[in-house]
Symmetry: C2
């Protein structure tokens, strides 16, 4: 008789991801995540890609983000509910799975709320390494919510940003950020307006959460040589940048079909020229042309970053012996015999299942 195949799924929790960060350090996590993202973007043609599948409701959206190459399939479940904070819940919550393409077995299940914050910041930094001026040292950070500290530290560790100029319409959010980052080497400057935060900054990062068509950044604020890292405009009807900001910039995107629907790009004509970031990484397209050019990364979050993040979390958890097996999928002695799982005689023979009271099923079968 054939032995049952092990189809256990390795589960990595929020606690495990926090432990990974504590064990190897946030700087190393960002560096390795950026390496995984870069490596996967350089294999762009290997992936079966699609825009994410979104179910919209009055107050938010729930999305599925699948992607696959010949070896692995990844998907992420993620929501976006800006009003959640009023109920004590995060605006963005996520989890995801890495599966074996050859068999369909979901091998790895991970929290992705914390991981999404990490990979979003790492992705922003990967783009900025190509697009921002090399001598960038200051960054305006508009929106000081859940994602903000991760952006600040990714740019600190991966680009050498030393000064962060903070603005949020909710001053408590800014206070929280300052408390969280007070033990770092970053110089944190609280600004009283977006314009003040942006003035003189080398990089401008926008990470606001409102599901509205806002124009928090207008063309008059933008200075030659700036790099704009637009993170918060990531959903139809949820934008941050005035269209003129895009018109003044060289615009780079993750995956054009998705960004046209979801990004700040949604307000511009379908033929507005953009460059996909993988082309820059693969040296098939130019990144920053010169020190005066305004560059813009219109980031919406693409499934490939989650594929990278899942790969990294799986590998890091394995290295550190973290995670635990969960039984998402049944183990079958005979794979054509699913009924075995509920068959009273099989159950009776299998003490390990400890199933009580077979009379009910015997009577009913």
């Amino acid at each position: 008789m054939q032995l049952p195949q092990s189809v256990q799924t390795q589960f990595v929790s929020v606690h495990d991801v926090a432990t990974i960060i504590h064990k190897i350090g946030l700087k190393t996590v960002f560096k390795r995540l950026a390496d995984y993202i870069r490596a996967d973007y350089l294999r762009w043609q290997d992936f079966e890609k699609c825009a994410r599948v979104a179910n919209h409701s009055k107050d938010g959206v729930i999305e599925l983000m699948p992607i696959s190459d010949a070896k692995s399939y990844a998907f992420k479940y993620v929501n976006g509910h800006p009003k959640n904070t009023h109920a004590g819940l995060p605006c963005v919550m996520a989890f995801g799975v890495l599966a074996d393409v050859a068999t369909g077995v979901p091998e790895f299940l991970s929290e992705l709320t914390l991981s999404t914050a990490l990979r979003t910041a790492a992705m922003s930094a990967v783009a900025a390494q190509e697009l921002a001026r090399r001598d960038s040292r200051s960054m305006a950070l508009i929106g000081n919510g859940a994602q903000s500290e991760f952006q600040a530290l990714a740019f600190h560790h991966l680009l050498g940003i030393e000064e962060i100029r903070l603005f949020d319409s909710d001053s408590k959010a800014t206070e929280k950020l300052i408390a969280n980052l007070r033990s770092t080497n970053l110089r944190l400057k609280v600004c009283s307006s977006i314009a003040q935060a942006v003035r003189g900054a080398d990089i401008v990062t926008t990470v606001t959460a409102d599901k509205t068509n806002a124009a928090i950044l207008t063309a008059d604020m933008i200075e030659p040589g700036m790099h704009i890292n637009g993170v918060g405009g990531d959903c139809p009807g949820k934008t941050e940048l005035h269209p003129d900001v895009l018109r003044r910039s060289a615009v780079f995107v993750e995956y054009e079909p998705q960004t046209r629907i979801e990004g700040d790009l949604q307000h511009l004509p379908a033929d507005f020229a953009v460059t996909e970031l993988w082309q820059v990484l693969a040296r098939q397209a130019l990144g920053r042309r010169d020190a005066d050019q305004i560059t813009l990364f219109d980031s919406v979050g693409f499934a490939l970053q989650d594929y990278s993040a899942l790969r990294f979390m799986r590998d890091a958890a394995r290295e550190l012996g973290l995670g635990q097996p969960v039984s998402l999928i049944p183990e079958l002695v005979n794979p054509k015999d699913l009924f075995m799982l509920i068959h009273p005689e099989t159950q009776a023979a299998d003490e390990s299942r400890r199933l009580p009271d077979f009379s009910a099923i015997l009577a009913s079968v």
Copy 2:
């Protein structure tokens, strides 16, 4: 300070689903599942629907099946890998989630391998209750693999089928089915060909797994008054019925846009007339017209059945006190403060997290 919101996800394993079946009996499970499916199909217009998102590979497919109404969002992950049995793995494995549309919280995570077999059989029975002749007592069952016992018993319990005429190209599969169902009241007849199995049957159920364009059922086998329950043709390039079988039948489908891509319908012109089953259930369209009509349910498996199955498993597990909480989503004291999860001082203050060695992160932040 605000108390952390509980965002734990209730997890129901394969073992829990087997226990549900043992506790309340398979007959009751089928009856209740059929009731849930019928209730949800009668609310057809309430749902945001889409064809499932499939990533195809050489040997199989991995699919995501989302659906939502104003209250709940459901999705299923499911694969289809016909060659998996050679590796000791099921061809079809699945799990899924029920989430709160208002907040995006994934409230319920369940195995769906066993549940998919249950809901597929329940769905077939719901359709046959509308489409098969009321005096149906015998069913041909072509394909005796993982799904077959569930089909046999759903039709036994919900339609009064007394005789099952079995055929599978793998005689071991048929032996397995007979062993599994020997303690039931069903009369099981082994047939030496598909034609022999089909001859004189009131209902013909096809549940084969090969990912090929097969024509295991041809028009010459079909007799007046038969109901055909086509379950195995559910993927582009994976069909079971000769197109002439469909041409001779009144064809009913779950969700037309998906069935045109995936069902046996894929070989027929786009204007070939079909009826969506919800219309029959809602009495907006006729089911079986008379005792001689040939009816055909071209089933591919639609997300709404999984929504129903997830609702049922959640409710049944709750009633029986089954399942366990898992931490897919972090609990945050301040929902704008995700960084708290990895902040060394917060960690130090929170003994319950038991995180070791803060020096690494302190040094690196």
